[in-house]
């Protein structure tokens, strides 16, 4: 089949426990932007068990069609039946673009499915556009139009690469959560549902789920946190970390700290950011009452957005902060917590 015959922008509408993940709606937003210059439409692929009720939401957020794969074997994510389902959809409907969230599910499903349907996959993309490949015309090389150009950081965030998949279809990418923007929902929009029954024959690749543990206990992993609210000696006391805890809770982040805080015995070592602690690269890093010693900066400078609050105008943290506030953290942080709660209550 010629690659021109592959049509449509498809997204994997991830759901867990019957609830759509945020990334599903973010992908729909991006898929719409990509579909327009291609003159095509947007299809959500919804895989699960008893999940038909989610189709309406997908329609409201921009899915022109929903391909529904509903089967009891798909109740909880497992690589094999989900890979059978998604590669079945790809082989049957032949999309030109297939987007998957770069989540703990998507980064397992994406590579398995792309290998099964023999196409390329670009990981953890932060930008997607339609354009030409090669970007500039080159002597002796056919320049292909309407290609998916996938942008992603590599080498520990030290380089940015733009990648195309010119000769294989679908063009597949996993997309970093929290980067793409949801559309405003069109309330009441009815979905066009296509029910699809793939071959879900059990094989050697089916694994057995012995146990599901949702309570992760007290274990905190600051390296996988998307938002870190990090405190330094300037917070003043272990008790005063309460205002950081509250900010973290409001914004959906995790509390971390500087070495000074660990050395003072205010926080355990596993929360320490820096050369002798952990290197972190969250989407947002709040440096609150942290002066920004070079050893600390080495552990967090790759964060996408750094927001510093410190009363000392000459603190070196302001040399790496994207947004710096010279002020009293005891006043600014609680106000910020309140404002975030209000903003979230409004959009919920």
């Amino acid at each position: 089949m010629a690659i021109e015959d592959y049509k449509g922008v498809y997204i994997f509408a991830q759901q867990v426990d019957g609830e759509l993940s945020g990334i599903a709606l973010e992908l729909l937003g991006k898929a719409h932007e990509l579909a327009e210059p291609l003159g095509t439409d947007v299809t959500a692929v919804l895989i699960g068990s008893n999940v038909k009720g989610l189709c309406n939401t997908l329609a409201e957020y921009g899915a022109d069609h929903v391909i529904l794969v509903d089967d009891p074997k798909l109740e909880t994510y497992r690589t094999e039946p989900y890979a059978q389902a998604l590669s079945g959809v790809i082989n049957e409907y032949k999309p030109e673009i297939m987007l998957v969230g770069a989540t703990a599910i998507g980064r397992d499903l994406g590579p398995t499915v792309s290998a099964r349907v023999a196409t390329g996959l670009t990981a953890d993309c932060t930008g997607l556009d339609i354009g030409d490949f090669p970007l500039q015309p080159q002597e002796g090389v056919e320049q292909k139009h309407n290609q998916l150009l996938m942008t992603r950081p590599a080498f520990g965030g030290n380089t940015i690469a733009t990648i195309a998949c010119p000769n294989n279809r679908p063009q597949m990418a996993t997309v970093r959560p929290g980067v793409m923007v949801k559309r405003a929902p069109e309330k009441g929009k009815q979905p066009d549902i296509i029910e699809y029954k793939p071959d879900l024959t059990e094989n050697n690749k089916y694994v057995e789920i012995l146990n599901i543990v949702k309570d992760m206990g007290k274990k905190v992993d600051i390296q996988s946190a998307k938002i870190l609210v990090s405190g330094g000696r300037g917070v003043g006391s272990p008790e005063n970390f309460k205002i950081l805890d509250e900010l973290a809770e409001a914004i959906g982040g995790t509390v971390s700290c500087s070495r000074a805080v660990v050395d003072s015995g205010w926080k355990p070592k596993d929360l320490q950011v820096g050369q002798t602690g952990k290197t972190v690269r969250p989407n947002v890093y709040f440096a609150i009452g942290i002066s920004g010693a070079i050893q600390h900066v080495a552990g967090m400078e790759e964060s996408d957005i750094i927001i510093a609050i410190n009363k000392d105008e000459s603190a070196p943290i302001f040399d790496v902060a994207d947004y710096g506030i010279v002020g009293d953290l005891n006043k600014v942080v609680p106000l910020l917590t309140k404002a975030i709660k209000e903003a979230k209550a409004k959009t919920a």
Binding site: R78, T79, A104, R107, D108, G110, P111, T112, A115, G120, L121, A123, D124, F133, L149, P153, A154, F155, G156, G157, N158, T159, I160, T162, I163, C165, P166, G178, V179, K205, V207, E208, I209, L210, N211, I212, V213, K214, M216, D221, I251, V284, I305, I306, I307, E313, F318, D319, A321, D322, Y323, G324, I325, G327, D328, V332, L335, A339, I340, A343
Partner: protein, 262 residues
């Protein structure tokens, strides 16, 4: 039990990154290390070896100098090494890399394959699951804990907010997280053994069977780099010295909204 651990020699991105004038990475000028997730995978294999007895083979694909990382792994306790190296394999994306490594692994006996979740240079996390797919065996990624139960492995598989305890029949492939364990150090005796007693087998293109030329190297890679550029290093951003607390709060809220954080 035969365990294969796939490891990669990577530039130490934490130790300073050096660029060529054209913006590509100057790998020759940078220190190299064993990729951290892979090292955790190796440690997991060595612990299984300590506990149940196993023959551990480390496999890497890379330049001839990647032999160093195999010797390091053998000094830690791996029994033998396989280096897949050939000019025609260079420039491979994850599809071509996984096709090539899977072909190499088909030459070996294995019950369990362990790879790191992702390498710190590419950060794709794709090669492990894709090797499993090419070998038609189950994959369990993001492993936090690995146990053996007869012909089965029992693995704690991490998700964002939970973990699943999964049971898979061997042969299977597991991708390991750096958090899995604290890798052991090389021992002086181990270093002697790694160079004197233990063997590294080198395979080129001709040694890899069941591998189509259409699936190797730069030409066999479906994904193509359109552009690569040095990330603009962050300098100081904006610093607001004259805002009252309410103004400071509104300023931050504006930025968080603009950047779609909230």
């Amino acid at each position: 039990m035969n365990i294969i651990v796939c490891i990669k020699q990577v530039p130490d991105t934490a130790g300073g990154v050096v660029f060529n004038p054209d913006g590509t990475l100057n790998r020759g000028a940078m220190l190299t290390i064993m990729n951290p997730d892979d090292k955790a995978g190796l440690e997991a294999a060595l612990r299984l070896k300590d506990q149940y007895g196993a023959h551990v083979t480390v496999v890497t694909m890379g330049l001839p100098k990647a032999e160093d990382v195999l010797r390091e792994a053998m000094a830690m306790g791996a029994d033998e090494g396989v280096l897949i190296t050939d000019r025609v394999l260079g420039g491979a994306d994850t599809w071509a890399t996984s096709s090539t490594i899977a072909a190499g692994i088909r030459n070996l006996d294995f019950d369990l394959i362990i790879t790191g979740r992702q390498a710190i240079d590419g950060d794709t996390a794709q090669v492990g699951p894709q090797i499993a797919e090419h070998l038609d065996i189950p994959v369990i990624s993001y492993a936090e804990e690995i146990k053996i139960d007869g012909d089965y492995v029992i693995v704690k598989r991490q998700y964002e907010d939970r973990y699943h305890e999964l049971k898979a029949k061997m042969p299977c492939l597991i991708t390991a997280l750096a958090e899995l364990n604290e890798p052991r150090y090389m021992t002086p005796g181990g270093i002697f053994d790694a160079y004197d007693e233990k063997k590294v087998t080198v395979w080129g293109r001709a040694d890899l069977k069941d591998l189509d030329d259409a699936n190797i190297g730069l030409n066999g890679s479906p994904t193509k780099i359109a552009k690569a550029s040095d990330k603009v290093r962050k300098g100081a951003g904006e610093k607001k010295t004259d805002l009252d607390p309410q103004g400071a709060c509104e300023y931050i809220m504006g930025k968080l909204t603009e950047k779609h954080v909230i």
